[in-house]
């Protein structure tokens, strides 16, 4: 089982952004997706640092891809998508719009925000050159199994969301801006204050979701610690780890030890809780009744 670091979903300062990819040059991961997936307004703050980060990761032996945005509407965003194809780096599409701009004949990756729910769509994407697909996080284990089986015949590597707050929805509206009573065009980058998203609680004060600009995430941190063997047996090729502001290098190391067999089930969860105190963990999309549930709550 390999490890892939997904695109950072959050808006970090340019220096923190650079620090993440510096750190990842030494992290025990196989590949890294970088670039902006959530909001095109964030990109100018770190865009000029991308080429160097890519070069350093490649020098460190990592496979690298650049992500498209998850929701492409504006002319500017369409141009950005077209420009991605000229970077000479593998593209990870996170909106099918990017298909219209891919360099002819180039292989590409498909990110977790593209709806690959079944063999038909997987086969269609493989025919267009998809070589790697991270499945949508809401898929249950039965779907993962059916898709890895189809992917084996197609020569496509299948990834599953392994760790981090789950991307649940994307919108044209910015919830951070709305919370601060600002318009989207005058958001003043309110999302920058919340490097892991802003927790959204229910009326009973239960942690539930997290807002991240135009994106809505799970409040819980997904963690497939207890499904590593099941996913390996199902033929999943890599786990996808989503950057978080606290202890992300440690998260990568924990999963490396876990997938290599050096550490038992439970080792990642125990440590992950220490990195983000008060965090709930979840693995319910894969094996539970709903996405927010945690298999060990049922077991205990």
């Amino acid at each position: 089982m390999e490890l892939t670091v997904g695109a950072n979903q959050f808006f970090w300062t340019a220096d923190n952004w650079s620090a993440l990819y510096d750190e990842l040059t030494t992290a025990p991961v196989d590949r890294v997706v970088l670039g902006e997936v959530v909001c095109s307004k964030r990109l100018p703050f770190y865009q000029d640092r991308i080429p160097e980060a890519v070069a350093r990761l490649v020098d460190a032996g990592k496979e690298v891809a650049l992500t498209s945005l998850a929701l492409i509407t504006l002319k500017r965003e369409r141009k950005l998508t077209a420009a991605l194809a000229e970077m000479g780096v593998t593209i990870e599409i996170n909106d099918l719009t990017a298909l219209a701009h891919l360099p002819k004949g180039a292989d590409f990756w498909v990110g977790p925000l593209v709806n690959v729910y079944n063999e038909g769509t997987l086969t269609w994407l493989a025919g267009l050159g998809a070589s790697r697909v991270c499945l949508p996080p809401e898929l249950p284990l039965a779907s993962v199994k059916a898709l890895t089986s189809a992917a084996a015949d197609l020569g496509v590597a299948i990834e599953v969301w392994g760790h981090g707050r789950l991307p649940l929805a994307i919108s044209g509206r910015c919830y951070h801006a709305r919370l601060h009573k600002r318009t989207k065009d005058n958001c003043q980058f309110a999302c920058e204050d919340d490097p892991d998203g802003l927790e959204v609680r229910t009326l009973d004060d239960q942690p539930f979701m997290a807002m991240n600009g135009v994106q809505t995430l799970s409040g819980s941190y997904a963690c497939v610690d207890h499904q590593v063997e099941l996913l390996t047996k199902a033929g999943v090729s890599a786990l996808r780890l989503s950057p978080q502001s606290q202890g992300f290098l440690r998260v990568c190391e924990l999963y490396r030890d876990r997938v290599s067999g050096a550490k038992p089930a439970g080792s990642v969860a125990d440590e992950a809780r220490k990195l983000v105190p008060d965090a709930n963990l979840s693995d319910g999309f894969l094996t539970g009744d709903n996405g927010a549930s945690w298999s060990q709550d049922i077991a205990s």
Binding site: A70, T97, G120, L166, A169, T202, L203
Partner: protein, 327 residues
């Protein structure tokens, strides 16, 4: 050309009511998980679909069959059969969201007209034209995240017809790209054709107040005598930072009737009404009003104002993203 009114029908009776009330086109689905309004007691069996299409055609109306959930891996045959059966029932088009399903329909039924569902969230001309080239898609139902100028810009760059929602329920998230419901309940629009399903709703008396829960999460609380809104996740009450309230969207529904002239100028072909879960009398009334509106527009007259407000859920309506005050 008069704008096409596309009306929902959750039952054969609603289909007949919509056609009699002046619907140019009716959309409906089979009574299974292949459509995004998979509610108990709703939708059409195979015979009803054939008869419904026959009735509509006899009265000069069209029928579109929505097969707009994402097929479950391992069970695609259920969705393929839905397309085959819509085709043999004489449907004028199928409304699809899943690329694999579009691919199947384009290959196996090249004579079947394909519409791209709002669940595909095709929000710009590049992807719309891509769907047209790849599968021969003839019409796209635009996501409810676009403003009128953005819709006009899309129409300027594509020959694919556009259809927009003008009345009824309103998603604030990009459609077909939201797993809030399955995160809380295990059931989602994409996989199961339901959002915030009634099976997971619980109302609870809470010291003189009424709490509405979805999947165990309390997202509404009102005084006992106040109307209790249905706990749809994105329209629930939450707190974040030092704020609390409807952090994503107020419990409003869409009413863009007064924007019809602008939508026509923006090049929109068809106006879509949400609500396959609604009663036939509701459907008939909404259809009649919208038909009057487009006929008045065609005759160069002013639109009748405010005729539909009383029909909206939660009484409050919005023009949604079309006027985009939040941009």
């Amino acid at each position: 050309m008069v704008m096409e009114i596309v009306c929902p029908a959750g039952t054969p009776a609603a289909l007949r009511a919509a056609v009699k009330a002046g619907a140019h086109t009716v959309y409906c689905g089979f009574n299974d998980e292949t459509n995004a309004r998979n509610f108990p007691g709703l939708n059409f069996d195979r015979d009803e679909m054939r008869e419904g299409v026959g009735f509509a055609h006899k009265h000069g109306a069209k029928v579109l069959v929505a097969i707009n959930t994402f097929p479950r891996a391992g069970d695609q045959a259920i969705w393929h059969r839905a397309i085959d059966d819509a085709h043999s029932a004489g449907a004028d088009a199928v409304i699809l969201a899943d690329p694999g399903l579009l691919d199947y329909a384009a290959r196996d039924h090249p004579d079947l007209r394909l519409h791209l569902s709002v669940q595909a969230a095709a929000a710009n001309a590049d992807i719309i034209n891509y769907y047209a080239d790849a599968f021969g898609v003839k019409r796209v139902v635009l996501p409810r995240v676009l403003s009128v100028p953005e819709i006009a810009a899309i129409n300027a760059e594509t020959d694919v017809e556009t259809e927009v929602f003008v009345f009824g329920g309103l998603c604030v998230m990009a459609e077909g790209r939201c797993s809030l419901s399955s995160y809380a309940t295990g059931l989602s629009p994409n996989m199961n054709g339901v959002c915030s399903p009634a099976s997971h709703v619980e109302y609870q008396d809470d010291q003189g107040e009424l709490s509405a829960k979805l999947g165990g999460y309390t997202i509404h609380r009102v005084g006992k005598d106040e109307p209790a809104p249905y706990p749809t996740l994105c329209k629930g009450c939450f707190s974040a930072g030092d704020q609390s309230g409807h952090l994503f969207e107020d419990p409003v529904s869409l009413n863009a009737e007064q924007l019809i002239p602008q939508l026509q100028k923006a090049g929109v072909t068809a106006l879509k009404i949400e609500g396959r879960q609604r009663s036939k009398s509701y459907v008939a009334q909404v259809v009649r009003n919208f038909r009057n509106a487009v006929d008045a527009l065609e005759a160069g007259q002013d639109l009748p104002a405010g005729m539909l407000a009383g029909l909206s859920e939660g009484q409050a309506t919005t023009t949604g993203a079309y006027k985009k005050t939040w941009r």
